[in-house]
């Protein structure tokens, strides 16, 4: 404080005044600019959210109208057109909803409704394209979905009114964080939208064959059999899997109660000084290895992909897996990730029986393993004899594809189903494709493109 107690001359005082007022002006200017900028960002955010909200309202309006029409059409062409329009609108509505600043828990049912409407209509649209109309059951479901869209629309209109009156303001992110206002404004938007979500309290379970159908979500592990396994037994199984000479200490670190119940184990490598762990999950029923991951950094590449493939195959044989075929591979971080699929006695490829093995390319050590799909696939398959002949199926494939080879294969379909197909591998304009023709009714079930680059082959 000594400084300020000094006597100042008049001149000095003036100087100080100039400096201080300059600073004052500067900071006021700066403050104003910051405030203005913040206002601009806020408005911009408001506008974006408003647009998304209003677009969503329009989308739901359209869904309602299109469903009204779909109920009274009697031509597959018209129904197909309507269904694909609903599909598009539902997708757009779900997307807009996902970008609104409302907590997920307040909106999960609405989001699910929109996804399922789209998915369901897409399924019907595909069915229409095969010249089949909606059956009575589907009609009843559309009717129910339509009622829900009506209720949802009512809630949305209510909300829209509040938005335009300024009762609901999106994007007041800063205010939420402030302590004093926290209680009062604790997600005021959430509360209002949460009410809308209540529209779906007795929303029906929808079963059809799209990816969002309920029977997929409630999928049960079919390949999990055997007896309950104790923790000690699980540790023993894991040790055997990893090789007794490779692991030092092994212990349980977690207990999984997901789709498949597991013991979550962690092993330290022998020596115990390395900076990585091996994690391994053993199923509580049957004592299967669900997955294994070794987090070691692989620094060098000494093995070729062929050598790695051999290591992986030997490993799988050692672990007692039956006949398997290599499907594709991917090189990443000096490792090769290989997928293997099952083969039946008759030589039919079993794509749902999928196993993944990751080989380190420096020592050939197995650093990753995953058998989720293998364990979830059905155990005993019947009906592996095709109804159509190969020539009949071939007639269904486009002339443009130059076919290299044909095989019988079981492929997974959305909805936890699988189907026996003829697999045609061929070329079109230098791109490789797989075309799958249903071996029973000749439907084209799927088309996959094979993407090859130096790091591996992928199917899309």
């Amino acid at each position: 404080m000594k400084l300020f107690k000094m006597q100042l001359s008049r001149e000095q005082y003036h100087k100080a005044l100039v400096v201080v007022s300059a600073m004052l002006i500067l900071s006021v200017f700066f403050g104003y600019n910051t405030w203005k900028e913040r206002k601009q960002y806020q408005t911009f955010l408001q506008n974006t959210y408003q647009r998304e909200f209003k677009e969503m309202v329009t989308d739901v309006e359209n869904i309602k109208i299109l469903m009204d029409k779909a109920e009274i059409t009697n031509s597959t062409v018209q129904s197909n057109a309507l269904m694909s329009q609903i599909w598009r609108q539902a997708l757009s509505a779900a997307e807009n909803l996902g970008q609104l600043p409302i907590s997920h828990s307040a909106l999960s049912k609405t989001a699910k409704y929109l996804s399922q409407v789209g998915d369901f209509c897409f399924t019907i649209s595909k069915q229409n394209a095969a010249n089949k109309m909606m059956n009575e059951e589907q009609f009843a479901q559309i009717d129910k979905l339509k009622d829900y869209s009506g209720n949802l629309l009512g809630e949305l209109y209510e909300m829209e009114k509040k938005v335009s009156q300024g009762d609901i303001r999106f994007g007041e992110i800063r205010k939420q964080g402030k302590l004093i206002l926290k209680r009062a404004s604790e997600n005021a938007v959430d509360v209002k939208f949460g009410k809308m979500d209540q529209t779906f309290t007795d929303y029906p379970v929808l079963i059809y064959d799209g990816p969002f159908s309920e029977n997929v979500i409630g999928g049960k592990p079919k390949g999990l059999d055997g007896e309950k396994v104790s923790k000690d037994k699980a540790l023993e199984i894991a040790k055997k899997f990893l090789g007794k000479n490779n692991v030092g200490e092994i212990k349980q670190v977690s207990s999984g109660s997901g789709v498949i119940h597991t013991y979550g184990l962690e092993a330290t490598p022998k020596g115990g000084q390395e900076d990585y762990q091996i994690n391994i999950d053993v199923t509580k029923t049957g004592g299967h290895i669900l997955w294994m991951l070794n987090s070691r950094d692989v620094l060098e590449k000494k093995l070729s992909n062929e050598e790695a493939a051999k290591k992986a195959k030997d490993f799988l044989k050692e672990q007692g897996f039956g006949e398997l075929v290599e499907s594709y591979f991917l090189n990443e971080d000096n490792t090769t990730m290989m997928t293997f699929i099952g083969v039946s006695k008759e030589g039919v490829l079993l794509y749902p029986d999928l196993l993944k093995v990751k080989v380190a390319l420096d020592t050939g050590e197995i650093v990753g393993f995953d058998s989720y799909h293998y364990l979830m696939a059905p155990k005993n398959r019947k009906n592996l004899t095709p109804k159509l002949t190969e020539a009949q199926a071939k007639a269904k494939v486009t002339q443009r594809l130059e076919i290299d080879r044909v095989k019988l294969a079981v492929i997974p379909l959305p909805g936890n189903r699988e189907v026996l197909c003829y697999e045609f591998k061929g070329k079109y304009k230098e791109n490789d494709f797989f075309v799958y023709i249903n071996a029973e009714n000749g439907n084209e079930e799927n088309i996959l493109q094979i993407i090859k680059d130096k790091d591996g082959t992928l199917t899309q």
């Binding site: 006597q7 779900a94 600043p101 996804s115 950094d297």
Partner: protein, 238 residues
């Protein structure tokens, strides 16, 4: 009389000064935090860390240039080993492992990976996912990082969430790392690796849809979810 006035003004002046300095500091902070640097520019030099350094050290050690441990930290020992190697091989002895030195070491030089025209590439997805892992689960055990990525991918497949990786990650309020901008930090090697493992189908979370850190979680709702698994500091739940 002037002295009196000055004394009266002093507190205000000090407050103003502090205010101005703070203003400028936070303003600068705001921009310097968000450097959108490229993920895979692969120049390794003094102070670098990570797998790339380990690779260099392994090579130099096997040829006898480097005597320290392969710890992934580019210290002065590594630097002098690099310089010795560069001198021997007629390279510019600057102690920096760039394109030429990488080549001489026999390490494939990873330039910034860009998708080649006309083909589909997964590298964008890997990068976005790695960013999210880095922001959300830095410092967690490796398996916990894979699990966080798996949760994001599980959400993509679920009707209650948006149907793309970007849609899920950027959903407002879904991830704190997105809200506070930590997501924009350059992901580390382990985040990349975890992103790839998750995309390849490894799911240590056991099909979880949510996760939270019980020490930080504020939402009451999240506590009501059935827990599937505990990995590191995170509770994974349905």
């Amino acid at each position: 009389m002037f002295r009196n006035r000055i004394q009266k003004l002093t507190p205000y002046i000090i407050i103003l000064l502090i205010y101005t300095i703070f203003g400028f500091l936070s303003y600068n902070d705001f921009f310097s935090d968000r450097s959108f640097s490229d993920a895979s520019s692969m120049i390794v030099k003094y102070g670098s860390k990570g797998t790339a350094v380990k690779t260099v050290q392994t090579k130099l050690k096997s040829w006898g240039y480097y005597k320290g441990s392969v710890d992934g930290v580019f210290g002065w020992k590594t630097r002098s080993a690099v310089i010795a190697f560069q001198k021997k091989n007629g390279l510019k002895a600057d102690g920096i492992v760039g394109a030429a030195t990488s080549k001489a070491l026999g390490i494939p030089y990873k330039a910034a990976t860009t998708a080649s025209r006309g083909t589909v590439s997964r590298s964008n997805e890997v990068y976005t996912l790695a960013q999210a892992i880095n922001g959300e689960a830095r410092g967690e055990p490796y398996i916990g990082q894979v699990a966080v990525a798996a949760v994001i991918l599980n959400r993509v497949d679920d009707p209650k969430f948006p149907n793309s990786i970007a849609g899920v990650i950027y959903q407002p309020g879904a991830f704190t790392a997105v809200a506070d901008g930590q997501m924009f930090l350059t992901p580390n090697d382990s985040a990349y690796k975890a992103a790839r493992d998750a995309l390849n189908g490894w799911d240590p979370s056991g099909g979880a849809m949510y996760y939270y850190n019980p020490a930080k979680a504020t939402s009451k709702w999240i506590w009501s979810r059935p827990i599937i698994k505990v990995i590191g500091k995170h509770y994974f739940c349905r």
